[in-house]
Symmetry: C2
C-alpha cells in the first residue's frame, strides 16, 4: 500500500535536471514509484519530451519558478526563495500531496526546507542525517553526518534513538546495537564531550547501547548504529569515500601495470564490477534526514539517474513504514524514563 | 654521520619481545642501524640465542626490570614503573646515550615517558602524533592522531607548524601546504572551534596555510599537512585502516568468487602485492611524536619485525636531521610574529 507519490527536487544536483528526470522515469518503470518532478515547469516538460516521454499519472510536473544554488546559504529557502523547487517539494509533503521528498541539491537548504515546512517530530530537538555504510556482513547506520556541527549531549542521545529506529527498518534488525564513536572501547577513552555523552546514553532505556566503539567497528558489522556529532560524522563520511576511491584507483593502476596483470584484469572484471557495486553508496539510495515530520532523502550532489532511482525507491519504502511514529514513541519513552 | 644508536622498547607490542628483536636484527643487517634493546636482560639474551644471535656492538641489551602493560594508564611510567623498558629507553635518549626511541607498546605510556624524560621542545605547548597517509601521488602528513583529545586553538596552530617541519623532511617538500581538516573548503564551514582555529592559522607566518580541507583531500595529495585535534585524528586513522581493510577484504572475496576470476587472480597477484605494500602503514615506519626533545617513533601494537625494522630506520634518519632545532626555530618565529 502506497501512501502517495514522492516529491523530487528536479533542479537540485550537479546533473540536474536531466539525470534527475531520468532517475524519476527509472523509479517509475522499475519499481512503480509515483513521482512529482518539482522545478521550472516548461523546462521539465521540454526535457521529458527530449527523452521521448511526457507527463503522466506516474511522473508528473509541479511548477516552481526559483532554484536554490549550491552556493546559497541554507537560510535562503526560509527568508528568500520561498518558491524554490526544494521548498515547494517540501510543502507538497506538508500538505499531504506527497508521501516523501528526495533532493540531490544543496544539503543545508534541503534540511532547512524540510524542517521549516514539515516541522520536527514530537520530542526531537535536532534532526540528523543518517546513512548506511556498507561492510562485509551487511551495513552500519552512521549519524549525524553533518546536520549539527556543534552538539549538546542530549542531541547525541536522541541521534542514538533515531538511528536505532532507522536501523531496525533498513537493516531489519529487531534490537539494533548502538555504539558511540570514540577513540577506544574503554569508558575512559574519548574527549570531555564524548565521555559526557557515554554516560547519558547508558542512562537511556530506549536503545541497546554497547558503549564506545572505534572507527574500525563501522566496517566490522558488530554494531548496527554508530553515533557521533555532525562535524566528526561528515569527516568520517568523506574520509571513507576518499579511502575507497583511492584503493580502487590504486587497484586500477596495479591492474594495468603489466601485460600479465592486464590479462588477469580481463578475467577478474566481472567480480570487480560486483565489488564496486557493493562499495557504491548510490546503491543505498542516499542519506536520510531523521527527526522531521515526513520522509526526506538527501542524495549526493553528483547523483546519477540510478542513484536518484534508488533514492526514490527508498523514500517510497520509508513512506510506507511507521518510522516517524516509532521515533515519536521512543522519544516519549525516553522522557518518561528521565 | 650517525648520532648514535636507537633505543628500542623490546617489551612493547603484541608480539614482543620476539618480533621486536627480529626487527632490530633486520634494521642492523639491512641499514646498519645500531640498536639498544631495552627490557628484561636475561630474557632478551635468551631470545637472541634462540635466534642464533648474540649481543654485539650493533645490537646490544640494556636491562630494565619492569614492563608497562597495554592496560596501564599512561601515568604509570611517571609515578609507578620508573624502571620499565619504555621509561629506561627514554632515559637513554635524555642522557644522550641513544639518538632516538622506538616503541610498539602502550602509546599513552610512550608519550608520557618521552615527555617526562626528554621534555618538550622550546616553545611547544603540547606534543602531537603525526603519520604519513599514503595516496596515489605520494603522501600527506596528518596530525594530531591522538595525543591530545581536548585541544585549545593554539595547540592546533602549533600542530600546523610542527607538521610542516616534519613534512618538509619526510616528503622532501620545500614549502609544505598546510590545511585544516573541516567539513567544507569555505571559511564558513566547520564547527565553532574549527572556525576559531582557521582564523588563528591564517595569522601564522611560519606555515603556508591553504585554509579548510575535507576528508577526501587527505588522499588527493594536493595538501601536504592536514591538521586536526587528537580525537578527530584518531578516528580518521582508524576509519582509514578500517576502510582499506574492508576494500581489500571485499577484493579477496571477489577474486575467489568464480573459476574465471580465480584464474585472473593468479595473474594479477604480483600487482596486488605491490598495491598492498603501497597501502601498508608499516612500510612508513610508524607514527612520530613531534614536539619532544628527541626522536620518538610510535609503532602499531601489532607491529611485525618488518614494521619495527622500518621504524628504526626512520628514527635513525630523523636523528640525523635537525628537525627538533627547526621546530624550535619556527616556534620562535611565530612568537615574534604574534
Amino acid at each position: 500500500m502506497s501512501r502517495g507519490p514522492i516529491a523530487l527536487d528536479a533542479m537540485g544536483g550537479d546533473f540536474a535536471p536531466v539525470e534527475i528526470i531520468k532517475g524519476a522515469l527509472l523509479a517509475s518503470q522499475d519499481f512503480g514509484v509515483e513521482v512529482i518532478l518539482v522545478g521550472e515547469g516548461q523546462a521539465l516538460q521540454a526535457h521529458l519530451a527530449e527523452l521521448g516521454q511526457k507527463e503522466s499519472d506516474k511522473v508528473r510536473v509541479c511548477h516552481a519558478p526559483e532554484v536554490v544554488l549550491m552556493s546559497d546559504a541554507p537560510s535562503v529557502v526560509i527568508r528568500g526563495k520561498r518558491r524554490s523547487s526544494i521548498r515547494v517539494a517540501a510543502n507538497l509533503v506538508k500538505k499531504g500531496e506527497a508521501a516523501g521528498l528526495v533532493s540531490a541539491g544543496n544539503t543545508g537548504a534541503t534540511m532547512a526546507a524540510a524542517r521549516c515546512e514539515c516541522g520536527l517530530t514530537k520530542g526531537v530537538k535536532r534532526p540528523a542525517i543518517a546513512q548506511v555504510f556498507p561492510n562485509r556482513r551487511s551495513g552500519t547506520v552512521v549519524l549525524d553526518l553533518g546536520a549539527n556541527v556543534d552538539c549538546k549531549i542530549d542531541y547525541l542521545v536522541q541521534f542514538g534513538v533515531m538511528g536505532s529506529v532507522y536501523a531496525s527498518i533498513v537493516l531489519q534488525k529487531g534490537k539494533p546495537k548502538v555504539g558511540l564513536l570514540s577513540i577506544g572501547t574503554e569508558d575512559s577513552k574519548g574527549n570531555e564531550f564524548s565521555r559526557g555523552v557515554l554516560q547519558a546514553m547508558r542512562d537511556n532505556a530506549a536503545i541497546d547501547f554497547v558503549g564506545n566503539v572505534e572507527g574500525r567497528d563501522v566496517f566490522k558489522g558488530d554494531v548496527d548504529v554508530v553515533v557521533c556529532d555532525g562535524f566528526v560524522g561528515n569527516i568520517v563520511l568523506k574520509i571513507t569515500e576518499g579511502v575507497a576511491e583511492t584503493v580502487l584507483g590504486m587497484m586500477k593502476d596495479a591492474l594495468s601495470s603489466s601485460i600479465l596483470s592486464k590479462a588477469g584484469a580481463a578475467l577478474v572484471r566481472p567480480s570487480f564490477k560486483r565489488l564496486k557495486k557493493q562499495m557504491d553508496y548510490s546503491e543505498y539510495g542516499g542519506a536520510i534526514l531523521l527527526g522531521v515530520n515526513g520522509v526526506c532523502v538527501i542524495c549526493h550532489g553528483g547523483s546519477s539517474a540510478k542513484a536518484i532511482r534508488n533514492a526514490l525507491k527508498r523514500a517510497h519504502d520509508f513512506a510506507e513504514s511507521d518510522m516517524a511514529e516509532q521515533i515519536a514513541e521512543k522519544m516519549e519513552l525516553r522522557s518518561a524514563a528521565n
